[in-house]
Amino acid sequence: MIILEDIHKVYLRKNVETTALKGVSLQVDKGDIFGVIGYSGAGKSTLVRLVNYLERPTSGKVIVDGQLLADRSAHELRQIKKDIGMIFQHFNLLESKTIYQNVAMPLILSKKGKKETKERVTELLAFVGLSDKANSYPNELSGGQKQRVGIARALASKPKILLCDEATSALDPQTTQSILDLLKKVNNEYGITIMLITHEMSVIQKVCNKVAVMEEGEIIEQGSVLDVFGHPKHATSKNFVQTVVRTEIPENIKRKLAVREVTTLTKLEMVGDHATEPVLQSLINKFHLDVSVVFTNMTEIQDTTLAIWYLQIEGKESDKRAAWQFLEEQNVRYEEVTV
């Protein structure tokens, strides 16, 4: 549904060139919730702004819904844009209009009836928890309230594609959760395609089915969220994944291990149903091993549980070998790690 082909984007000012995108290609299918992460300045905002042609590529193709945007007339572009909602990083609200009018704007532009507009706006404001601010002006709102107005506005016209540039970064976790639930709902019910920039891996973890990791204008890794989160390949991706899926042992525990002169640990990785199976007990009871849990973490990704265990195992070598065999049979990934 959204295809970017070998996009380059160069900003030029007074002979100073800033290359924001260096040959980016990606495909977002209909119904995807596509997450984009990356360090600050990686080119994420530039990337999504290409989709509704707020930014034109220096080279490369932007294809939305089968239409090559470069070939479309201004009028056709406007029609395409009407089906693309956008939540801006800096909100871009009209200071001169009330919250109600801000949210109603896309409907007014589409010449929707008064009644329909009123219903829709009222519903959306209620949803984002700002019904009592309908007649306030943006400069009377808190940061998070402004962001919610931006979200309501982007959804007002029931777009087919929704572009979110850090739509929840100014929101507390609860509000974020309710917004994410809404995004999931519109995605499920209306099949809206969503492209979502965020810094919070937890956001991607909760709603995205696909993710692209950007670094210095390039996509360094992309794929299904479970793949990327489970086995990030690139160092940057690992860093990001690390923030939600604690796959590494925290420093303070490492320090204690050092004191106790522990150098080798066994790391187990279990996904899905395996995660909650009594593997640990089997190791202790069946193989008579001495097991202590050094660090453990369970994370939900897309309704699946990913469990990481760092264990200190002692016992007879033969018992251990038997235990390894057992783990392999159980499809549990295990690994000896040195700390």
Binding site: F88, I108, L109
Partner: protein, 219 residues
């Protein structure tokens, strides 16, 4: 009571004439000025509908008119004025050069105000697929409204100043009384009282403008 040649009647009539001339020319001048100001902002290179030809024609025309001293403008416009209102003298005839004088002035002030609207707002509009007209009407104009009000206030006051010259073509008005009686006939009372009236009028316009602008800015 006072040593003066003018009667209260003349005064009242002059105030009426001033309001008529300034009001009419302000009304029409604002319409055209706003249109030209908007055109010049949107058609400029990098504007929302870049249209170099329109910009390159409109810009010098505005400058040209602004360059001409008002009194010359009055004279130069006589044939035009006559073709529009049927005569080159009187209040109606004065309105024509006043409009031509104030239109480019308003256009420039409008231009300046509109350029202050942040690019983020225009991006928001474009992301919604707003037509150029909608961008102007629903986004740029409301955001620039407070500034536009102050600009219009400035223009109105300049217009009042210019309307004093309307006496050249036999129009009346308060400013003309100041010139014809106060200045040319050394009638200090007429001079003084007309200036006081002008001050009051201007003060009222200015504070209305300020109040409106502040209301719009809500601070």
């Amino acid at each position: 009571m006072f040593d003066t040649n003018i009667t209260l009647n003349q005064f009242v009539e002059a105030i009426g004439e001033s309001f008529y001339m300034v009001g009419m020319s302000l009304l029409i001048g604002t319409i055209f000025g706003a249109i030209f100001g908007i055109l010049i902002v949107v058609t400029r290179p990098g504007g929302i509908i870049p249209f170099p030809i329109v910009y390159m024609i409109l810009n010098p025309i505005i400058n040209t008119i602004r360059s001409v001293p008002f009194i010359i403008l009055i004279v130069a416009l006589i044939p035009f004025t006559r073709s529009i209102v049927g005569t080159s003298i009187g209040n109606n005839a004065a309105i024509v050069p006043l409009i031509i004088f104030i239109t480019p002035f308003i256009a420039r002030l409008v231009e300046n105000s509109l350029l202050e609207v942040g690019p983020g707002i225009i991006e928001a509009a474009e992301s919604m697929g707003a037509t150029p007209f909608q961008v102007i009407w629903h986004f740029i104009l409301p955001e620039a409204f407070a500034s536009l009000i102050l600009s219009l206030t400035t223009a109105t006051i300049s217009l009042i100043g210019a309307s004093a010259m309307a006496g050249v073509v036999g129009a009346g008005g308060v400013g003309n009384i100041a010139i014809v009686y106060g200045y040319q006939r050394f009638d200090s009372f007429a001079m003084f009282s007309t200036v006081v009236i002008l001050i009051i009028i201007v003060q009222v316009i200015q504070s209305t403008g300020n109040k409106l602008a502040r209301m719009i800015r809500r601070n």
